[in-house]
Symmetry: D2
Subunit: 213 residues, 4 copies
Amino acid sequence: MDPLSKLEEIFRHFPGIGPRQAKRFAYFLLTKSDADLAEFSKSILELKKSVSMCSLCQRFFPIGNKVVNVAAPICSICSDPNRDTDTLMIVGRDIDLQAVERSRAYNGLYFVLGGSVPIFDEAPDQKIRQKELMARLEQMTSQEEGHRLKEVILATSVNPEGEHTASYIAGLLKPLVSTHGFRVSTLGRGLSTGTELEYSDSETLKSALQNRR
Amino acid sequence: MDPLSKLEEIFRHFPGIGPRQAKRFAYFLLTKSDADLAEFSKSILELKKSVSMCSLCQRFFPIGNKVVNVAAPICSICSDPNRDTDTLMIVGRDIDLQAVERSRAYNGLYFVLGGSVPIFDEAPDQKIRQKELMARLEQMTSQEEGHRLKEVILATSVNPEGEHTASYIAGLLKPLVSTHGFRVSTLGRGLSTGTELEYSDSETLKSALQNRR
Amino acid sequence: MDPLSKLEEIFRHFPGIGPRQAKRFAYFLLTKSDADLAEFSKSILELKKSVSMCSLCQRFFPIGNKVVNVAAPICSICSDPNRDTDTLMIVGRDIDLQAVERSRAYNGLYFVLGGSVPIFDEAPDQKIRQKELMARLEQMTSQEEGHRLKEVILATSVNPEGEHTASYIAGLLKPLVSTHGFRVSTLGRGLSTGTELEYSDSETLKSALQNRR
Amino acid sequence: MDPLSKLEEIFRHFPGIGPRQAKRFAYFLLTKSDADLAEFSKSILELKKSVSMCSLCQRFFPIGNKVVNVAAPICSICSDPNRDTDTLMIVGRDIDLQAVERSRAYNGLYFVLGGSVPIFDEAPDQKIRQKELMARLEQMTSQEEGHRLKEVILATSVNPEGEHTASYIAGLLKPLVSTHGFRVSTLGRGLSTGTELEYSDSETLKSALQNRR
């Protein structure tokens, strides 16, 4: 296949992109300079080498000039001595973690599931990083580590699949909770920015009333 | 103007209706039976007679067969002996009140502002039922009434105009608060149903973290 | 049912209106003056008396002060001596007829089907005014009438149901065409206002090329 | 800048892509295999070498294994002996040309403007390939070439900017028309697929009536 058609096909598999826009993208690239295309091409080639997946929280992070332990790379959040190591927030994807970081409202650690568990899914452990999560939790609750996990925040989206994922993980955590006694919490519900009372569902209003201040 | 054109014009002033849909409505009525139209016409004519505005909370309520004090009608919520008379929730419109009632999460009293105060508005007291609100608050804080107002909940929408309205009313309440010592609260912020973490603003996330449970 | 709830229910059956907007409409009426509501109510009551369905083209038309033959009312278009009585345009609804009139591009007569025939419909003659159409065509092709039908324009919408309706009617017309020899045409296809070439389907482009000028 | 951020920035300049989706794209690439990324990178690098701009119609075309005259490459359409060399369709972009080719309704030659002329633009000759168009027209009307241009079809989009572009080019063509006597046409207007009569503007309906068949 010629590169133009190949690019159309590649773009067609980008999230949210249909055949028309894929074609537009390919032709858009034709209007770019050779230097721009070389830079684009190089960035793609170097992407993975420039990024590592943190062996603790499983998020992707840029390596930069830092020396990274190739066998077990650790990101800047997980290695930050000023973060609270007794709280772990479990999120679906890297972009969710970034939204929380932008809010500057959280100073604990993270774990990125890498996905969510569809309702009625028969192999939920294949949809999220379950094995890695359990290993991380074992580590965070082991006595040798010197610290003690106090809270796990299930920060999934407030929709059926997100809530199903949270309840699936809550089930996984149960034995650990009974042994180690940490708290399992979910993010507070309430009116989010832009909400009009008239269109709010009862559960949101109930939480908004309980959490009033 | 003939009734068909008249109806088009009337429908054109309905909230959210443009000229095309107004025309559709008028022609839609043409396809209805005489009995249907008579019923529609009668309901409109009797609407106001069947509904009264509560002299306390200012909401519209159906009169039904009840005997109503015409000079100072009082709705079923305001006259319900089981409602908590020490809490007043201030909402923008009747439909907001109804959304809260549907949630069954609130058992106090209401006040319906009948609108909101646009930012930079020069006559805010014309946009909401300010005089009626002040009168109602004076009543609820007077000692003769035997009850004591403990909390006013500002339940406006979470958007610039709603928040401006809340802060305008908070200003009005200040002198009363310093005299009578009631609490002024706003509904809790957090993730509302359908929220995806990725698209949440920082303030919503901050509240969601504080209100986690 | 009280008039407020009744109105909500009536509005919920308006085309394109859901329960929320129906409620909004009902409460919107509460804010209107008694005079406005009386006028609205009266317009609805007088709607049908002010409008007649033309016995020839089947469209609704305002009667005004004109004397109308109650048994067989005839609208201003059908009775206009300056219209071309040798051409009949068949449209789906009154609003389609009005769009064509607004364009001032057509000077013939009309017939309003009052609907369209869904694909796979088992009783197409129940969905449109088939009996009235056949009667009108017989009339327009009868020799006593002194005029001779030269063309029937099938002006249905360009979507599957519209095209199915056109082809269903074309079938009905066949025997008449072979007897009376009038032409059956459809509206020209081509680029409509706002069309971008990139998003045009092949059939539209083909017609646009054939009809270029 | 690290490759991840660089890619976000590059994607942000793709047509129709905002910052959120740009971020999604960058993280999406992180989930791809090394082989997939290598192929993507390579396609971008080879894109321009694999594609040439036709010196006659100015469209991009894949070179493939064909020997191409580097100084004056000619595409498969312009060099096809079976195309009608007496008709030239002027389109805005490559994707417009492709839409017309897909329709199989046109067998003449093309010229791709590479853009359109905004209304009130002060340097229209900078927005489209005006010089190349004039050169191509001179060539197509010169007697030595042995063929004679009979028609130029202005196939721009049916929106204000497209129509302005067409009228700008019509102006450019005037002197040539008076010398060489070719026809200048535009694509036919009418109902395009999906059009509902009710929502059609008068000009579209007028054309649809004229072009009925």
